[in-house]
Amino acid sequence: MDLTPTPSQTVGPYLHLGLTDARSLSRVAGDGTKGERVWLTFRVLDGEGAPVPDAMIELWQADSEGNYGSAVGSDGGTPFGGFGRLATAENGSCTFETIRPGCVAGPRETVQAPHINVSILGRGILKRLSTRLYFAGEPANDADPILALVPENRRPTLLAQPNAARPGNWIFDVHLRGQGETVFFDV
């Protein structure tokens, strides 16, 4: 048997049928999860700055102490699973409720700043796009080994910005292409 990994294909415009709505997870952290509660609003925009109404965002994050719960159920049975999934609305946006993750061990002696691993899927996206959400103003960002790989002028594309009007709310714009294009990673 050929063990080359199976190729990716787009989720297409009807992804909601199989992946979201009843199967959506907007709360990454349930009640009682330790940590600073945050609401993250993603806005997905195309190469002309138009909102993308048929994308899906998936999140994978550590808990407030920097541990990943890979052995833990993620769909409501336990307070914290670390996984979230939502389709974008007509305005290209969706909002998750979670807790701010802790620092995570990095390669060798490094420490990764609090971050959330983000997948973007959608019509016109032939293979999953991977990026990371970091928090603007976080002191640990300066020593983050992954941010250090990103040209300085593009780093701001990975920083969620606090919404001054609503404490605990952050905004993360994903520019798929063109001006202000978000940094995507080959993971």
Partner: protein, 249 residues
């Protein structure tokens, strides 16, 4: 902010066993202009190579508590059976070393036999079937096998270019053990004359890689007097050999 300054309890930075990168040509490029929607949605900048960390080699365990036995038989989800050709789709999920990916969620969705999705945005002039939603889920067993019963989806037009039709397909979504093993793909049916005209399938440069998305008719899976069987095996990324394993070879 104080929470983010807590040091990780994950230990003194254990080295992680990374997953192998894809061979060139075996996955689609993000930008494939014949598939029109990629022109405004594919990044123009090269991806930045990320050395895999704990964040990439861990992944969610999702869906286990909510999978129903009926979820894997798409013909039993309504009052009556859906119209169309009943089929069985069966296969095995393994990683790049041939090891079973066991107890892992697979989600599928598809059009009905007439080529229409039960989705508010699908306005193709083909009938909906009140007995077919087109959504399924299951977990792989201990040996990585899965099995769905469904009906064969129809081809449908999609306006990407003049007289554009999608070959019949079933969407598959898999998680595997890590953030980097997440895979969403489409399964096709053998011998479909639309393959050559479909930019979504043709976006994969390597012909052998494209063929891996085409299921095979399988007499062993076929159930006498009841339904044809198709076999669709899926390979997720495997881990790179550890230094220890390399010495062993």
């Amino acid at each position: 902010m104080s929470s983010s300054l807590v040091q990780s309890k994950s230990g003194p930075n254990r080295p992680v066993a990374p997953f192998r990168r894809h061979e060139p040509g075996t996955q689609p490029d993000s930008l494939y202009p014949p598939y029109r929607a990629t022109r405004l949605r594919a990044p123009s900048q090269p991806l930045i190579l990320l050395p895999q960390t704990l964040s990439e080699v861990t992944g969610p365990v999702f869906g286990h508590s909510s999978v129903h036995p009926n979820d894997r038989d798409l013909t039993l989800q309504h009052a009556s059976e859906p119209l169309g050709e009943r089929i069985i789709v069966r296969g095995r999920v393994v990683d790049g070393d041939g090891h079973a990916v066991s107890n892992s969620l697979i989600e599928i969705w598809q059009a009905n036999a007439a080529g229409r999705y039960a989705h508010a945005k699908d306005n193709h002039a083909a009938p909906l079937d009140p007995n077919f939603t087109g959504t399924g889920r299951t977990l792989t067993d201990n040996d990585g096998f899965y099995r769905f019963v469904t009906i064969k989806p129809g081809a449908y037009p999609w306006r990407n270019h003049d007289n554009a039709w999608r070959p019949a397909h079933i969407h598959f979504s898999l998680f595997g053990p890590a953030f980097v093993t997440r895979l969403i793909t489409q399964m096709y049916f053998p011998g479909d004359p639309l393959f050559a005209y479909d930019p979504i399938l043709q976006s994969i440069p390597n012909e052998r890689a494209r063929e891996r998305l085409v299921s095979k008719f399988d007499l062993e899976t076929t159930k006498p007097e009841w339904a044809l069987g198709y076999r669709f095996d899926i390979v997720l990324r495997g881990r790179e050999a550890t230094p220890f394993e390399r010495e062993e070879r």
